[in-house]
């Protein structure tokens, strides 16, 4: 089975929001970059499926700048066989359709049997790139997968997915297909030191997103979310005083 996994380097803001000069982006100095958490689970799921079904290949793909190579290497160290980066070149962070088109270029070229995405990116939080990619490839899509089983005889997947109301829907889908993977589906492996060293030297193929229809979406401006802290009362004092206040409240409420 050939599985393409779409992985994203996300930007996390650990503290206050600092915008760039134009006010249309975040100042890179105040950003932490890391592999999108759901995507780690997607990579693990792809490796597991290949391992359990007699091999195959896991190709990780990211749309982004050279800084995203770090995350691609992490996935190689986990056990993906190859990594491809679609050079960002101003691709829209907030237009999941454009990102999906770029990912579709690679998925099509690789003739993937299965394409995995994360359920959502921690920074843009759209839950849309996977479904958009399915649209671009004309593959069926199952979102929020919490368990995946492959039936080799019929080349079908049986997928458990989170449904509203705390329920789990079990569906069947033919390959090729796109799945979005929910966190907690498995336990992602930690990379061995040796694998990390090997991945450092691995080749990352870089392709240009040629001839893609341009985005219709532009970031006009960004602003720090204006906190609505009307009802918030800050507890002054050191941890001991805070703890005392919490104890008091617990006692009041428990009476």
């Amino acid at each position: 089975m050939k599985i393409v996994v779409c992985i994203k380097q996300v930007m996390v803001l650990p503290g206050a929001v600092v915008l760039d000069g134009e006010g249309t982006g975040i100042d890179p100095l105040f950003v932490t970059r890391r592999l999108n958490d759901p995507d780690r689970y997607a990579v693990e799921e792809a490796i597991r499926l290949c391992e359990e079904h007699g091999g195959g290949e896991v190709v990780v793909v990211s749309v982004g700048g050279a800084e995203a190579d770090k995350e691609l290497r992490k996935c190689l160290a986990m056990g993906a066989q190859r990594a491809v980066r679609v050079a960002d070149d101003g691709l829209q962070l907030f237009d999941p359709l454009v990102v999906a088109r770029a990912l579709a270029l690679v998925a099509r070229r690789e003739a993937a049997d299965l394409v995995l995405c994360g359920v959502q990116s921690e920074d843009a939080a759209q839950q849309a790139t996977g479904p958009a990619l399915a649209g671009a490839l004309a593959y069926p899509c199952v979102s929020m997968a919490t368990k995946v089983e492959f039936e080799p005889d019929t080349r079908q997947l049986v997928v458990h997915k989170e449904a509203s109301g705390g329920r789990t829907e079990v569906v069947q889908v033919d390959l090729p297909a796109v799945l979005t993977v929910q966190t907690g589906i498995n336990t992602p492996r930690t990379e061995s030191f040796k694998a990390v060293m090997m991945a450092k030297r691995a080749q990352i193929e870089v392709t240009e997103p040629e001839d893609l229809p341009p985005s219709t979406i532009q970031v006009q401006s960004m602003s720090a979310h204006a906190p609505s802290r009307g009802q918030l009362q800050l507890i002054e004092g050191d941890p001991a005083e805070v703890a005392a206040r919490i104890r008091e409240l617990v006692q009041e409420v428990s009476q």
């Binding site: 920074d123 939080a125 958009a132 989170e162 705390g166 079990v170 229809p213």
Partner: protein, 315 residues
């Protein structure tokens, strides 16, 4: 392409609250508003009289309303029939499953989890959506004659009021096909939540900020000593530190305690969905900008593990 098409959803009580919110958002765009519903029998949908609706249409949609390929086909048919500039669907899991795919397939524009929407004099649509864990609002300009598919977040707009005058239902189109490449074989009522947690009066919620095994052990001791219930955010459950039944939030338990103390929880939309009915929220988070402080009544920026130390020792 001119008007605004609102995809309404029917629940037990008729048109859903979220759909009435979409109508308000649509009316604010100042273009003719068509409300459309898909239903096995559109004629049986009870009278709809929301203010601002110019036209009410119903499309026969047989079968399982959650089958997203059928829903996708229904929405596509409604778009083709009405040629709107803007299509509004509620941002929920059922719609997220197909909306971007439909947009990409048909080369429509797309934006989701939108909390503000307006149209510019030149016809462009401007939407605002949160990003970066709720810390930033991003204003996006969509330059497209349409259709643009936009998913507004539920609970942001005030639902449209009734005008007292029911709009006549016009049944349009042929019943859409029930075919789906994704076939449901089972629906499990996973008995998700811990019933005791759902009923607890005092809950300490643990998040990634206290997400080390040794931290969890400390809070287990505290919970035993103080007689409070423990719950957690999803990441702690995902890594196996806390039992799945103790996950609080959109895909976990909904809690209604008199006191909820959040230790190292940022306040994601999905977590807040599970605690919004708490009488009092006390947030312990070292990041002054964490969105949980928007909803908290009491808060502190000191280190949660320092607080934990003192919660333990004085007994």
């Amino acid at each position: 392409m001119t008007g605004t098409l609102v995809i309404g959803e029917i629940d037990a009580g008729g048109l859903s609250e979220a759909s009435a919110e979409l109508v308000s958002a649509a009316v604010s765009l100042g273009r003719p508003v068509t409300l459309a519903v898909g239903s096995a029998d559109p004629q049986s949908v009870s009278a709809i009289d929301l203010r601002g609706i110019d036209r009410l249409i119903g499309l026969p949609v047989p079968g399982d309303p959650q089958a997203h390929e059928v829903r996708e086909r229904a929405v596509e048919t409604l778009i083709d029939l009405t040629q709107p500039a803007t299509v509004l669907l509620s941002a929920n899991w059922d719609n997220a499953a197909f909306a971007a795919g439909l947009a990409e397939r048909r080369r429509f524009s797309f934006a989701t989890d939108v909390i503000e929407i307006s149209s510019e004099p030149d016809g462009a649509l401007v939407v605002t959506r949160p990003a970066y864990g709720g810390k930033v609002n991003v204003k996006l300009r969509i330059d497209d004659e349409g259709p643009s598919i936009v998913l507004p977040r539920a609970g942001v707009w005030t639902p449209a009021e009734s005008s007292g005058q029911a709009v006549p239902m016009e049944v349009v189109g042929e019943a859409v096909s029930e075919d789906s490449r994704v076939r449901r074989i089972d629906l499990l009522e996973s008995g998700a939540g811990d019933a005791e947690l759902a009923r607890a009066e005092v809950i300490f919620g643990l998040g990634r900020g206290v997400g080390k095994p040794e931290h969890i052990a400390v809070f287990e001791d505290i919970a035993r000593q103080l007689g409070v219930a423990l719950g957690a955010s999803r990441p702690l459950v995902d890594v196996g530190l806390v039992d799945r039944h103790k996950q609080i939030g959109q895909s976990g338990v909904t809690v209604k305690p008199r006191l909820y103390v959040a230790f190292g929880i940022s306040g994601s939309m999905q977590h807040m969905a599970g605690i919004s009915e708490s009488r009092m929220i006390f947030a312990v988070n070292t990041d002054e900008e964490a969105p949980i402080f928007d909803a908290a009544h009491l808060g502190t920026h000191v280190d949660a593990m320092e607080v934990a130390k003192h919660l333990l020792s004085s007994d």
